[in-house]
């Protein structure tokens, strides 16, 4: 049954290839870097489109530059001097003879002025129209628009808070705890949870100044803080002919400071009934703003399975592969097809849930040191493979991870026939994965997956606050020979490298009962 579905889908995908081949977009500039630029380049090359990469000075050897058909330097390291230069990007596209620009995610992807400038230059913007970006980019306007379409929103202020008294009045009305949020915000900046009225004034002030420095907009508003909330989002696709479908949900509750770390689909919290309702709400949201192309409607779902519109991301998401794995729809190709003016190849009924997919984001950061970013050169690595394993990255031995951009260096996605298989496959793949030269989140991701909250599918957005210590303490103790092995490897490395030995700093700290001692005993008793 599955195979037949897959076959039919492959045929439709091929049909789409043929159509794209004869249409107007022939050459695309990808206004982005990192794994997403490579992801887009790969899709373009598979359907015979020419690709143009752009790069900043330190990105000369980045994967997107290596794999694109053409690549042009657009400026210095700081994003403001390169990847955010609207004028330079458009000029480069024109000079290279491109007919379209794909913005990826981040950078200018949700900048309405950029989308408009691309269109004004006579190029196709692979994304929604500037007006939809503008409406959804203003949280207050988005809320109003969505509410008028009959989609539930989180109770709270309709207007940005003018003063503390007004905010306090609303907060009393809807009940503490409340959330103070930046109008132009995202990524957790300009956001504060307020548990009691006494803390409100301070929270409003700090959130406002943080929002001003991060987004140039000091306006904040107040809304209800939900209990045991799930962050669940619905992927939608809309063409220029009024057809809108949704491609099921993604559960994105594993977050740290509002940055997603692990996503999965379907959500273990989801029911068929709720999926239908949320899917319909997402489609209505898109319709309300005349949305075209791929987009994501984010919802918060409380413990009573009541859902509320959170925001709409008017672009491709980092976690889009999760949806691709369970629907067999290539979202980037679909984006290009829609931008070409074609009708969607799928009706709502064609979209099924096939199995289960999980994504782990690989960040160059050190979970044990408060998730500090880690930079350096990748000196050695092994990327896992095997059935159902997908890695979107493009990193290689010798690649420098610089401090200038986002610390995400790739995404590992695993598919399985059901959640259990996907989960065990992900753990297997994480064990095979190794990266040297920078610290990564690989081990941390494995520990999250092994923690009972995730393992049993009983988690909400508080999982990492609530269980962080437990998760950090988890490390698989499945080998009793490990301590001797560790010593042997360190010894071998020291002698094989002929390196001068390290002298210790003289500081001796011994914890009386470390887990290694316990492990050591365990192992010696085994023998």
């Amino acid at each position: 049954m599955f195979e037949r579905c897959a076959l039919i889908r492959n045929l439709t995908q091929m049909e789409s290839v043929l159509k794209i081949d004869g249409s107007m977009i022939r050459k695309i500039l990808i206004a982005n870097r990192g794994e997403i630029a490579l992801r887009i380049i790969r899709a373009c090359q598979e359907i015979g489109l020419e690709t143009v990469a752009v790069y900043s000075t330190p990105d000369r050897l980045a994967p997107h530059v290596l794999y694109a058909d053409e690549a042009y330097h657009i400026g210095e390291a700081q994003s403001a001097k390169s990847y955010l230069r609207i004028d330079k990007l458009i000029q480069t596209a024109k000079d290279a003879g491109c007919d379209a620009i794909h913005p990826g995610y981040g950078f200018l992807s949700e900048n309405a002025d950029f989308a408009a400038a691309v269109q004004d230059a006579g190029l196709t913007f692979v994304g929604p129209n500037p007006e939809a970006i503008r409406v959804m980019g203003d949280k207050v306007a988005a809320r109003r628009k969505v509410k008028s379409a009959g989609v539930p929103v989180v109770p709270g202020l309709e207007e940005p808070a003018k003063n503390v008294d007004k905010a306090a009045e609303v907060a009393r009305d809807i009940g503490f705890p409340v959330l103070v949020k930046a109008v132009g915000g995202g990524g957790g900046k300009g956001m504060r949870i307020v548990k009691e009225e006494g803390d409100l004034e301070n929270a409003l002030n700090t959130a406002s100044s943080e929002a001003k420095s991060a987004f140039g907009d000091p306006r904040v508003y107040v809304e209800k803080y939900l209990e045991e909330p799930h962050h669940i989002e619905i992927q939608i696709l809309a063409d220029q002919h009024g057809n809108i479908i949704h491609l099921n949900e993604r559960e994105c509750s594993v977050q740290r400071r509002y940055q997603k770390i692990i996503e999965e689909s379907p959500s273990p919290f989801m029911t068929d009934e709720l999926r239908q309702k949320m899917g319909a709400a997402a489609v209505e949201t898109a319709r309300a703003c005349d949305y075209v192309n791929a987009g994501t409607v984010e919802f918060l779902v409380d413990k009573h399975r009541k859902f509320y519109f959170l925001e709409m991301n008017t672009r491709l998401q980092v976690e889009h592969p999760v949806t691709e794995q369970i629907t067999s729809v290539d979202l980037v190709k679909a984006q290009i097809s829609v931008a070409n003016g074609e009708k969607l190849l799928w009706k709502q009924d064609d979209i099924k849930v096939q199995g289960h997919a999980i994504e782990c984001r690989v960040y160059a950061e050190d979970a044990r040191h408060n998730f500090a970013p880690s930079t350096g050169k990748i000196t050695d690595m092994h990327i896992p493979d095997g059935m159902g394993v997908r890695f979107d990255g493009g990193i290689y031995d010798g690649l420098a991870i610089t401090p200038y951009y986002d610390p995400m260096i790739g995404k590992l996605i695993c598919w399985g026939g059901d959640r259990n298989e996907a989960l065990n496959r992900m753990l297997r793949a994480l064990r095979e994965f190794s990266i040297s030269g920078v610290q990564t989140s690989l081990g941390f991701c494995a520990s999250v997956l092994e923690h009972h909250a995730f393992n049993e599918g009983k988690y909400d957005t508080h999982i990492l606050e609530e269980y962080l210590d437990e998760i950090l303490a988890l490390s698989k103790e499945d080998a009793s020979d490990v301590p001797a092995g560790l010593a042997a490897v360190a010894f071998a490395h020291q002698s094989l490298d002929g390196e001068t030995k390290q002298t210790s700093s003289g500081k001796q700290e011994t914890t009386p009962e470390s887990r290694w001692k316990l492990r050591g005993r365990h192992w010696s008793m085994d023998q």
Partner: protein, 169 residues
């Protein structure tokens, strides 16, 4: 050869007889040959009694981090010479260094919260370094007087660069 392997701050006495790349290694009451082969610059294959392990090793300032299934464990190997040296106290340079604040990460100095000559409490905020879109607060490791500020606002810095010197009170 006798060594002390410090594994996650726990000392293990190890005795190694290297025989090519097969070690006879005894760690306390563990006494069996370990076949240890390097497969890439930082990865090793281990065979112990037929059981196969893949380990990854990374050098850091104080020793090694050995990763087993991506879970890092700190390992330090000291031989008899090291142990002797330690005994005669190559002591307290570290303590004197406490007032020297180095950059824990590379990035850009976005804000400096103190001035030279100013007195600070321990844990007082000294500056903010931005790296990979994240702001990282640098705090005073000790209370004291700001002796010298080595960086400027807006400056790009490498890891371990000296940021500020504090005279202990």
């Amino acid at each position: 050869m006798k060594y002390i392997a410090t594994i996650d701050e726990q000392d293990f006495a190890i005795d190694v007889h290297a025989n090519g790349q097969v070690f006879d290694i005894s760690v306390e009451d563990f006494d069996r040959p370990i076949d240890c082969k390097r497969i890439s610059p930082s990865r090793y294959s281990l065979l112990i009694d037929g059981k196969s392990y893949l380990m990854q090793v990374q050098k850091n300032q104080t020793g090694f981090e050995v990763f087993f299934h991506n879970h890092p464990v700190k390992v330090m190997i000291k031989d008899e010479v090291d142990l002797l040296r330690e005994k005669f106290g190559m002591g307290d340079i570290a303590a004197e260094m406490h007032g020297v604040v180095q950059a824990p990460i590379p990035g850009m100095v976005v804000q400096i919260a103190v001035e030279e000559g100013q007195t600070v409490e321990q844990d007082a905020s000294l500056m903010v370094i931005e790296a990979m879109k994240m702001e990282n607060e640098i705090k005073a490791p000790i209370a004291g007087n700001i002796k010298k500020i080595h960086v400027e606002q807006g400056q790009n810095i490498d890891k371990d660069v000296i940021l500020i010197e504090i005279d202990p009170e």
